[in-house]
């Protein structure tokens, strides 16, 4: 069935998944314009988990677990297109490298991390060992780094590697519970996560390795994304998107859609691509 697609107005938006749809909330400065929140995409037969945004072609990418697949659609309006449809069991986290024009995802049943070109070609497994419940994945394109979480109840961890899977290292393994969400802020070079087990939001500078708590007592975070001074996360208990001022370390706003069901992945759809380039973009 043809889903209805509402083109997004210009500006920066939050995009998040609520089972059968991808919703957006426009941002004005750092404030959510809640009254203008609307579904971008209705996919009523699907359960959408992860969302990612390509700032170059203004496309949203998502993972779906009902008939496991990865698809994309233009946020300016257009038909959804399947990108990956075979050999997936439970695709969850998804990330776009807008410079290298590639797509990364985690599969929590196959327990691996894969990469492909944005059209689905040149698919390759880059990590297939020591993963139990891989979930969130994000890219840092200018530096060529990849970050992901594994909420393995026996040994949760946050890991990093280069974008080809080499130079893999564990960044965080102590005092973690269920690190469901992960985000990287290119301006501050901070990697932040939301943990549904410890109920904390924390950040680290991956190169320096220092660790700092942003907030504690959060309820049940699933997805998380950053934009400037704010971090936004989806919460399974509250069925809401919660805004946190990461410097003040406290909640500043929340958006609760009318429909009360679980919210999953969330991402920031930038009005323009963040500045920076890397080797792959040049060559």
């Amino acid at each position: 069935p043809r889903p209805d697609v509402h083109p997004l107005p210009p500006g920066t938006h939050l995009l998040f998944a609520q089972s059968g749809r991808i919703e957006h909330v426009p941002l004005e400065g750092h404030d959510m314009k809640k009254e203008d929140a609307k579904a971008v995409l209705h996919l009523p037969e699907k359960v959408i988990i992860g969302v990612a945004y390509d700032c170059v072609e203004k496309m949203v990418y998502w993972t779906e677990i009902t008939s496991p697949s990865i698809s994309k659609a233009s946020i300016q309006g257009g038909e959804p297109t399947e990108v990956i449809r075979s050999d997936l069991d439970s695709p969850e986290g998804i990330a776009v490298d807008h410079l290298g024009r590639t797509l990364f995802w985690t599969d929590s049943v196959k327990d691996r991390i894969e990469v492909a070109s944005l059209d689905g070609s040149q698919r390759r497994v880059i990590i297939d060992s020591d993963l139990v419940n891989p979930r969130a994945i994000i890219t840092d394109p200018p530096n060529g780094n990849l970050y992901w979480t594994d909420w393995n109840r026996d040994a949760p961890k946050i890991e990093t590697s280069y974008m080809d899977g080499s130079n893999r290292r564990v960044l965080v393994k102590d005092d973690l519970g269920l690190p469901n969400g992960l985000t990287y802020d290119p301006q501050s070079s901070m990697l932040c996560w939301a943990d549904a087990g410890t109920h904390k939001m924390e950040c680290t500078h991956p190169a320096r390795g220092d660790r700092r708590q942003v907030m504690e007592g959060i309820q049940y975070p699933f997805g998380i994304t950053s934009f400037g001074k704010n971090i936004y996360y989806t919460d399974w208990r509250r069925d809401a998107v919660v805004a946190v001022d990461r410097y003040a370390g406290k909640e500043s706003d929340q958006f609760q859609p009318q429909k009360r069901t679980k919210l999953y992945g969330i991402t920031t759809a930038y009005a323009q691509c963040p500045s920076g380039q890397n080797y792959c973009a040049v060559n």
């Binding site: 209805d4 089972s19 677990i65």
Partner: protein
């Protein structure tokens, strides 16, 4: 479309419990936008993640959406834990398997339904020297391995009374004690 000017311009949403809907301008298709709890789909005909059933009876008798029932052998932090129509569990943990994660996987034994056990399903781990079968083959509930002649113990690791010298692939030998000089 309220702008045509006929009595039938506005029609009730074809959604349960008088919930709202919207019409796609290009195709005229109607999509329910606020299905009742646990339900989703164009006409709220499907169950959401974590639920299963067939609320409109599209494949047989109607079954309301119920929470996935996996005998406590799934993790609530996981997504897609059961098939949204049949309820078949897709992410059984702790070495359990089955449509409701109701039994131990091959190579493991125990009671997958025991809600108090720390470890519901344990590995067979049959003693390779004493078993006539495979080290991963045991009774699914008791864990008894198939033992060689005169070998005993759950995992076939020692000799029966009156036997000694467990030899791999052979079993145990009868004790050759002189009945006159032995106390047992």
């Amino acid at each position: 479309n309220a702008l045509i000017g006929t009595p039938g311009d506005c029609q009730p949403c074809p959604c349960p419990d008088r919930t709202s809907c919207s019409q796609i301008a290009e195709t005229g298709q109607v999509v329910c936008t606020n299905c009742p709890a646990g339900r989703t789909g164009m006409r709220c005909q499907m169950c959401e993640d974590g639920y299963y059933g067939d609320p409109l009876g599209q494949s047989g008798a109607a079954r309301p959406c119920a929470r996935c029932d996996c005998n406590g052998n799934v993790d609530f932090n996981a997504v897609g834990i059961c098939d949204h129509v049949t309820g078949r569990c897709l992410k059984c943990l702790g070495h359990t398997e089955g449509d409701q994660c109701q039994r131990c996987r091959r190579g493991f034994y125990g009671d997958a339904l025991n809600q108090t056990a720390v470890q519901k399903c344990r590995a067979c781990s049959c003693n390779p020297a004493g078993t006539s079968g495979h080290v991963n083959e045991c009774h699914p509930q008791t864990g008894d391995c198939r033992c060689l002649g005169h070998v005993t113990g759950r995992d076939c690791s020692y000799c029966e009374v009156g036997f000694f010298n467990l030899q791999p692939g052979v079993g145990c030998e009868r004790c050759k004690c002189n009945p006159i000089g032995s106390s047992s």
